[in-house]
């Protein structure tokens, strides 16, 4: 579903991704872990080209995202992204957040967009807050609306960038619950996270990144339980 080869990204003369190769199969859940600054966000942002890769190829669902003349807006509708800071549109209600792209990108009329929007809010347990503005919602509720907003486009892939890192601890569970449900329904997911419990229970595979490289990857039990690389061990010793 996602195929990344030789991906490099530099900001000025600082090389942040130094040759990443990564395959994600359809219906697979891959958790990406690693120290802060190791390039996890940049990797995700190169997949939907919010960052412009310096070199390398990204193919998603058969479309070469990094190819010349690609219709970026079109391929982005096949990838949902969830941000650490939610990034809900503050001037739109929860429902308005979900329906804006349905109307402006998919060209749905407002009746159809509202119907799908409410259905998506239902999926994340936010149907009761459809008319609330983001400022009136808790962080966990905002993030669930953001997930609904991304899901409404019926993406093939979901990218999560530390979706729970900005949340108060008591709100983390509700968001992880939604993500777990998505995984069980067979969504292809790349999840950058510090939640080792989630990675252990939900991921099909865990990828450890450090300093712009994939250091080690494998099934969660193996990678988290008996890592081969010293760098992985020392990272896990700090976070577990």
């Amino acid at each position: 579903m996602i195929s990344i080869t030789g991906l490099r990204k530099s900001f000025g003369d600082h090389e942040v991704l130094r040759g990443i190769d990564l395959e994600v199969a359809a219906r697979e859940v891959v958790c990406v872990i690693g120290p802060s600054g190791s390039g996890k966000s940049t990797l995700l942002r190169c997949i939907n080209r919010l960052e412009e890769p310096t070199a390398g190829r990204v193919v998603v669902d058969g479309v070469e995202v990094t190819g010349p003349g690609v219709d970026l807006d079109k391929v982005r509708t096949s990838m949902g992204m969830v941000f650490q800071q939610f990034n809900l549109f503050p001037h739109k209600t929860a429902l308005g957040n979900v329906t804006l792209a349905l109307r402006t990108v998919l060209g749905m009329d407002s009746g159809a967009a509202d119907a799908r929007g409410r259905q998506m809010l239902e999926v994340v347990g936010m149907a009761g807050k459809a008319d609330a503005y983001p400022a009136r919602l808790s962080g966990g509720q905002q993030q669930r609306v953001a997930i609904a907003r991304a899901l409404a486009m019926e993406p093939k892939v979901m990218l999560f960038d530390e979706a729970t890192s900005a949340l108060d601890p008591e709100l983390v569970g509700e968001v992880l619950g939604v993500m777990r449900k998505l995984a069980e329904q067979g969504m292809t997911m790349v999840v950058v996270t510090h939640e080792m419990g989630f990675a252990r229970e939900v991921a099909d595979r865990v990828v450890f990144m450090d300093d712009g490289l994939v250091v080690e990857q494998g099934p969660p039990a193996a990678l988290l339980g008996s890592p081969r690389e010293a760098r992985t061990r020392s990272f896990l010793a700090k976070v577990l």
């Binding site: 919010l50 982005r76 509708t77 941000f83 800071q85 549109f89 001037h91 804006l100 486009m153």
Partner: protein, 215 residues
């Protein structure tokens, strides 16, 4: 004297202010978007425009548009009573508003544009539906302030306003005072400005404290 000061002078001042503000907004938005563009070929003309028009005295710009262009080209503006004045003030106001609008757009967190783009919205759609509505809220106090400045700057058009029925307040009051050797028209003109500007100045102060409170 007072009736014409209102029906001609104040009316024309408001007409100049209204059209120049709209023109300034349109020019300002265009120039701001050009300055934020990734393309250098759009950025530098916009930067030259804002620097030039903010660097020149507004009075010179007005004289240049009102007299310089017709003299140099032999071309007469359509609607000569209003068009040259509105054009000159729109250009000056546009240069200042471009900076205000740019600051407003830059005041919207980057994540807003990114979230919109990640949903597949093209840049112009994301700008219009997501970023500009939020930027506009940040821009209301400074734009209202620029409205006050623009309202007062219409008095500079006194150098142009020689056509019948086309005088704004300052020109009207000055001609009246000259003709009658009586300066009370100038006082009346001043009062006419203050009637509009003082409430607006209070409004700006209120808007500013409210935006600060909302942060």
């Amino acid at each position: 004297m007072l009736p014409e000061l209102i029906t001609e002078g104040a009316k024309n001042t408001l007409v100049f202010t209204f059209f120049s503000f709209l023109g300034g907004l349109a020019i300002g938005l265009l120039v701001a978007l050009m300055r934020l563009s990734r393309r250098r070929s759009l950025r530098w003309p916009a930067a030259v425009f804002t620097d030039l028009l903010r660097g020149l005295p507004a009075l010179l710009t007005i004289i240049f548009i009102g007299f310089g262009i017709p003299i140099a080209t032999g071309w007469q503006f359509p609607f000569p009573k209003y068009f040259p004045g509105c054009l000159a003030l729109s250009l000056v106001a546009g240069a200042y508003m471009a900076e205000t609008i740019r600051a407003g757009i830059e005041g919207v967190p980057r994540g807003q544009m990114e979230a919109a783009r990640s949903l597949g919205m093209p840049y112009p759609v994301a700008m219009r539906r997501v970023v500009l509505p939020q930027a506009f809220r940040l821009m209301v106090p400074p734009l209202t302030n620029e409205l006050v400045l623009l309202f007062k700057d219409t008095s500079l058009l006194a150098v142009l306003g020689t056509l019948a029925g086309g005088k704004e307040i300052t020109k009207f009051a000055r001609d009246f005072a000259n003709a009658r050797s009586n300066s009370s028209a100038l006082v009346a003109g001043g009062i006419a400005y203050l009637v509009i500007t003082l409430p607006l100045i209070r409004l700006v102060a209120q808007l500013e404290s409210r935006t600060r409170g909302a942060r």
